[in-house]
Each structure stands twice: as C-alpha cells, then as structure tokens.
Symmetry: C2
Subunit: 470 residues, 2 copies
C-alpha cells in the first residue's frame, strides 16, 4: 500500500478532500493495483493521524464515484479502471487567439444605432411592482415549465391587446411566444418542406435573410419601389413564404399604402399555401398619425402570419416577441413542437401580463412616443441645418429610425473606418443590401436610429457624422 | 358623393374615428370611385356639423394609409385600390375544435412529477435584490441586445462557478447561454452535416431523442447496463455525437462509475470528431456524498460538450441553461451564429450573476439540498411501508427523482387512466423508453419526483399511488 500524508487544516472537509484526492490519483494512475484491498478506515485514520470520520467520508465518495468497491465484512477494494489512452497533456489549455473575445471600451461613444432603445426612461419600479404580482399570483406556475407556446393567460392578454391596437383577429391559441422574430421564424420555417421558396425585401432585415439561407431554403431578395415590396416581382417569383414589413419597411421606412396591401393579399389568396409573414417590429411608434392597422387585419384568407415584439416598446434585452399563426400553420406547429419547452422565463411573461393589464404598458408607449418624437424632430433638424443640401432624409414620422442619403464620394469601407475614429455607432445601408451591392458613386445611405441618443448629445453626434461624411 | 352622419360623443377621437372608418369603408368597397375628389375639410365639417379638426385628422390618417392622395391647391382624391378577390367571409372565425386548448383544473391534484421543483422555498426577495443591482449597474446594457452567447460578465461568473463545483475547465468564451438543453442542443446539432450519426441513452430524455429525429439525423438508442450506457453498444454503433447523463442517468438514476467514464473518454479519443454531450441536468443534488466531478473534468481531448442548467437549482420556469463548447465546436458556432440574437433576457442573466456572486445561489442550493433530502427520505420510507415487497426502489441518493418498480399486472394505459382518477401527477417509464416498449408483464416502473410535493402531503400521495397500482 502506497504511503502519503495529509496536511492538517482547520476545516474537516479539508482533510477528507486530501485523502480522497490522493487515493483517486493513485487509483487512476494505477499506483494501486486493481483488486487490492485498501486499509480499513480505522487503520488509515491511525496512520494519517486523522479522525475516522474523514477517512469514512473519503471512502464513501470514492465508492459513490466507483473508484473502489466494498465486500461485506471484508473491506474496500480497488476497482479495475482502464488507463486513459491519451497522453494526458495539461488539461488547461489557452484558447486559440482567434477565439478570444476582445472588449471594446464604448466610453465616449455616441450611438445612432437603430437597434438600441432608451433604457434610462424605462419604468423599472412599475415593472417590479408587476413582477411582485406575478410572484404573488403565479408562484405555483413558476415551479413548472409552461405550455410550449407560453402561458395561456399571457397569450390571452396579448391577443386582446393586438385586437385593439393592431386590428389583429386571433384566439390566444394562435399565439406563440418566443424570444424574438428570429427564433420564431426559425421554428415556423424549420417545419416547412425543403423545397419551400421564400422571398424577402431587399434592402431588408439581413438576419432573416441569413436565417432562411442557413435553413437551406431558396431565398429571393425582392426589390422595393416607393410603395414597398415590388408586387410584379412578387408575382413573377411567386414564393411560398413572403417576408414583409408593411407598417414601416425595414430599413427604408416606407409605410405600405392600402393599394399595395390589397394587391399582396390578393396575390396570397390566389393559390394554396401562400403565406405572408408580416414583421410588425416597430408599428407602435407613429408620430404624425394614429397607428396603422396591420396587414393581418385586412386578411380574410388566413394567409398572414403576424409577428409582433416588445423589443422596441419595452427593451430589446427583454427578448419577448410572438407570432400569430393561421389555423393551418398552428396545426402543423402543434404537431412539430408538442415536445418543445417554451424558452421565455414565465415570471417575466406574467410580469408583462400585469404590466399590460394595469395600463402601465400603454402609458409607457405614450410617454416614449412623445420622447422619441422630440428626439426625432431635433435630429432631423440638426442634420438638415448641418448638411444643408448634402442630405436627403426619408422623413416618414414612424418607428425608431429613418433613412438618410448623403452626398459623399466615400465608400462604405471609408465610412466604417471613420465612424470608428469618431466613436459614432451607426449603420450604413451596406448591412441591409442582401445582394447586388450597387450604389450611386456619390451618395451613401445611412440608417439613423434616434432612440438611444440623449437629446443634449444630438448636436455632438451630428458634428461627428459631419466629420465622417464630409 | 356618398352621404353619412356621425354620432356625437364626448371624446373628439370618437368623431374622427367614425369619419375615418366610414370613408375607409366606402373607398374599399368602391362606393366612391377612384380618382373622385373628396369634399374639402371645411365643407365636410359643415355637412357633418363637426369640427374641422376631426375631419383633418381623418383625412391625415387616410392619407398616411394611402386611401387618398392630395394635389396641392386642388384637394383630396381617392386612390385606385384593387378589389379584394376573396369573397370576404366574416373575418372572425371560430378556431377548429381540435385546435382549442382545454383547461385542466389541477385543484386537488398532488404531483410526483420529476420536472417540477419547489417554488414555495425560492428566495424571491433575495432574487429581487440582485435584480436591483443588475438594474443599477447594467441599465445601459439593457438598452441593447447582448453577445450571441450571452453577456461576457455572466459567462465569466458561470465558468468560475463550474470550475469550482463541477471541475469543468473552460474560458468564458466557450460558454453559450440558452434557454434550456433542448434549444442549445438544437443549435449545436443544426450546424452538423446531415450524415452525422447520433446516439442516446435508452431509456432516456425523450425530448432530445425527438429533437434529433426532427433534425433528420440518424439516432441510435443505446441500452443501459448497471454502469450506465452500454459501452460495447457505443463501440459497435460508433456515433459522432453521444448524449449521456453520467452524473445521474435520466431516468434510471445510475451514477456512472469512473471505470465507464474512462472507457467512454477513451472511445471518444480514438477517432476524430467524436463528441460526448454530457447533460448534467441535476448534478447539484447529491444527498449521500459530495458532488461528483463532471465527465468534462476528466477529458483531456476536448471531446466533451458540457451542458448545465439552473432549472433544478433555481426554477424550471426561469429557463437558463448553458453549454461549454470545445474550441473546435466553438469555432463552428461562431461561424454559424454570428448573426444570432441571444434569447435570454439580459436583466435576468445579470440578476443571476449577482445571485451567484453574492453567495445566495450557493446558500439556496444548500438549503434546498436539506429540504429535498428530507422529502426524499420520507417518500422512500412511506413507499416501502405501504407497498412492502411490492416495490423495488432504485435508491440512489441524488437528483430530484428516483426510479421505482412496482409489482402489478396493470398496463401503462391502465396506470395512466387511474392516476387521472386519483388526481396524481406522475410519469411512467413508457415516456422514456425510446423504442421497443417491452416490459416484464407483472412489473411497472415509475419515475417518482419528490421536489414539488409538500411533506405533509407525501402520505396522501402514496395512498393515491397505492390505489393506482394495487
């Protein structure tokens, strides 16, 4: 039997751990032969001058892990364990350099990103009050996983809300809650046959384009005209699933007029299994008019899948979106995802339920609308006064971003480099052009978000942008 | 021009809405011809005896939605809008009966489900305190989406924790946070080639089995012996991805001994691109011994993907899990999911970060371990005293469930029917047998969870179970 000693510490665990680790090492390294008998607990305790308890705990742990076995009245024996075939290099290896993450210090940066919202105005206290209610009334629900589509109560609240605000007609059964348009579209499309043809707006939401390509579907990017997606191209390419943003085209900002909406719905109604996916990502913010009813509200053929989100109205980091499935797709969904576990935190979803029910959600949108409206107005004015005739703003009073075209000879790459220097977060059109990156050589389009920038920083951001462009 | 009148209400919006809705209806139904001139705002206001403002708002809204257009100094004209080709049945249709959700009143039910945990003991107040810290220190982070794998800070905290508790060696870069083992495995496997061969434990986690089948991979269910997954079958079938639960086999409860672990790792090391997915779903709860180091901790070939979760230690409804990718799979992940948006709420993830950092997480596990240990002991004792030699309990003191075999002639279907009558939530082995549902005709196995049942209800639950079985 191999000899070792243990260091005495103050904590009894400390001694047991050493005995366990030593014996484990000896056994794995085959320094004690398989089948050998270990000293009795008392014997080893005496040898090491430790309590018999420490040895017993170590033996129990080794037993539980299968390093040793016991024969009644005979004692403890070493298990027969194979040798590791690898040459066992040091386990802790440095991660290859290209996989290391680098931290970019964003101190001093200003953001005109279209993705961000303003978290400084979020009513966290009211949110937490609603969370208290969720805990109080749904504690039992929190001990289990919920319905694959999300808790019924929450879906009911959402369905009532969108009936009112978006004219969407649906039952709670038709709602699927998910953590964003991306995973919802992923679920929806993963159950479609591989020969499904899809089409998206170009320029458009590049993440969806990429997602559809990753899913190995044919994806047709369709050009836009001044009314939104080009209906002639839609008819010519005739996809099974058409992805559009009629409330506020992303990123151009076009609000699809009723004539184009009717044309699209008529196109969808003309054949079986044609679906329009309406991504209503920021419809809650209209500064000049009332909300504009959704495309789904005009559809009588159950051919529209409506996708809504709380990313713009609450916070993008909250990750709550939902889709409304027509019965036929719902049936397919139920078949495919009966085993699926809803990925959103139920506590969070019930909190949202109370936030809507209490009227806080509505109040928050109204407050933020005013706030965003002012920021938008100021930013547009500052851009015009700074750039004069060098800027052409697509001035549609909706959403959390607008498109602006600047006179400049600079390339996308030069712009990208300059914004880094100026510490200005902003996206160029390049990101949203899905293919055929042609651009007028002396113009460049930028997608300008105004949700995150503070009012007192707008002038400074425009100055930086001026240095970038001119 | 068509005539109509509006009802006078107290709210000015009420009047504008009526004008808007009426004109919209007339235009969509082609009761006003395309190209016709609408009356001027003043004229219509006079006709309807309403304020000119109400008409102006209605015209603006119709303009924004594209029902009408305006020619400067000439007035407002009706757009040319196609007729809907469908025969426009009533939009609100009843959902087909088979798609309606039925509500099961669980009042009076007792649960021996293995999925549930005990939410009554969850320290919500401490959790909320940590949430306050998350809001205080990360408010700005909440205004944007986070890294596809989750916030670095949170991944760092998790990596430090699992190094300590599970012996897992990894950098924060290697951690991918997701809303459960299911979506994480979905991401991991969706980037593998279609000819990838997978193997799972049988009986095992049926959701993963189903997921792999949905992804169209070959899935081999591999039998278990008393040490866990049958190593000879593993060697014979030689999959690329092998899914195991070594800490506490699901559902049998077997703790894989070191000898089998070495054999598995040796098998994986013997060929390129062989991976073992270690689903460590409830390893935090060991009642007789210390935690047992993970399989990943023994691996020196970067062939183990470790999956951990907070579903058992916190609440299943919180939906926070993570996987640790070996560098090669991480590289593939980065390539495939650079555009992916992390689906977990960042507020929630930062809250978890403070919950771990403050020591509350550790305290909570210790508290729950004691609590679950007592419930487990009591339930095992009550089962034995009630069923005597009619029950054989696989008495491994770990996790939140155990397997028990009962002498009974009843079929799975009869058992299922009886538990409904007795209002007892419990799962039979049928759910976890992935194929070849053979069973000894006079024995039936049940997976018995003890996390959710209250101590004072254990006797009653055992009584109900007795009536179910005997």
């Amino acid at each position: 039997m191999i000899k070792f000693h243990v260091e005495k510490g103050t904590h009894s665990n400390y001694i047991y751990k050493q005995i366990y680790e030593k014996l484990k090492g000896f056994i794995l390294d085959h320094k004690i032969d398989a089948g050998s008998k270990l000293p009795s607990k008392r014997q080893l305790a005496n040898e090491l001058a430790v309590s018999i308890n420490s040895v017993a705990t170590a033996y129990d742990q080794l037993l539980a892990e299968g390093f040793i076995y016991t024969i009644e009245r005979k004692g403890y024996f070493v298990e027969d364990i194979a040798t590791f075939i690898s040459n066992r290099p040091p386990k802790k290896q440095k991660l290859p350099g290209h996989l290391e993450e680098t931290y970019t210090d964003k101190e001093g940066w200003l953001s005109l990103s279209h993705i961000k919202t303003d978290s400084s105005k979020f009513p966290f206290q009211e949110w937490i009050k609603c969370q208290q209610q969720a805990i109080k009334y749904h504690k039992k629900d929190l001990s289990e996983i919920t319905h694959p589509q999300g808790p019924f109560t929450v879906r009911k609240t959402i369905s009532e809300m969108i009936a009112l605000t978006r004219g969407v007609t649906c039952e709670p059964e038709q709602i699927v809650i998910g953590s964003g348009a991306q995973p919802l579209i992923n679920q929806l499309m993963a159950m479609q046959p591989t020969d499904t043809r899809t089409a998206v707006e170009n320029p458009g939401y590049s993440r969806v384009f990429q997602l559809l390509k990753n899913l190995k579907f044919e994806v047709l990017p369709i050009e836009l005209d001044e009314e939104g997606i080009d209906i002639r191209e839609v008819k010519a390419s005739s996809p099974n699933f058409l992805f559009v943003t009629p409330s506020h085209q992303f990123p151009t900002g076009t609000i699809m007029p009723i004539s184009r909406r009717v044309e699209l719905l008529n196109w969808a109604a003309m054949a079986k299994d044609r679906y329009i996916i309406e991504d209503d990502y920021d419809s809650e913010f209209k500064y000049g008019t009332d909300n504009i009813p959704s495309l789904q509200s005009l559809d009588h053929n159950q051919s529209v899948v409506y996708i809504g989100t709380f990313s713009k109205t609450l916070l993008p980091s909250f990750r709550i979106s939902y889709m409304v499935l027509p019965p036929k797709l719902l049936e397919l969904y139920r078949y495919h995802y009966s085993d699926w576990i809803q990925g959103s935190n139920s506590l969070h979803l019930y909190t949202l339920h109370y936030f809507i029910k209490s009227g806080e959600y509505d109040k928050h949108i109204k407050r933020m609308s005013q706030h965003y409206k002012q920021k938008r107005k100021q930013l547009v004015a500052e851009l015009r006064s700074k750039f004069l005739d060098k800027v052409d703003i697509n001035d549609i009073p909706a959403g959390l971003h607008f498109l602006a075209e600047f006179n400049t000879e600079k390339s996308f790459e030069e712009i990208y480099e300059k914004v880094q220097q100026e510490k200005l977060e902003i996206y160029t059109m390049k990101r949203f052009l899905l293919e055929n990156e042609v651009r007028n050589s002396n113009k460049i389009q930028l997608v300008i978000g105004f949700a995150s920038i503070k009012r007192e920083k707008i002038a400074e951001a425009v100055d930086r942008l001026y240095r970038v462009i001119c």
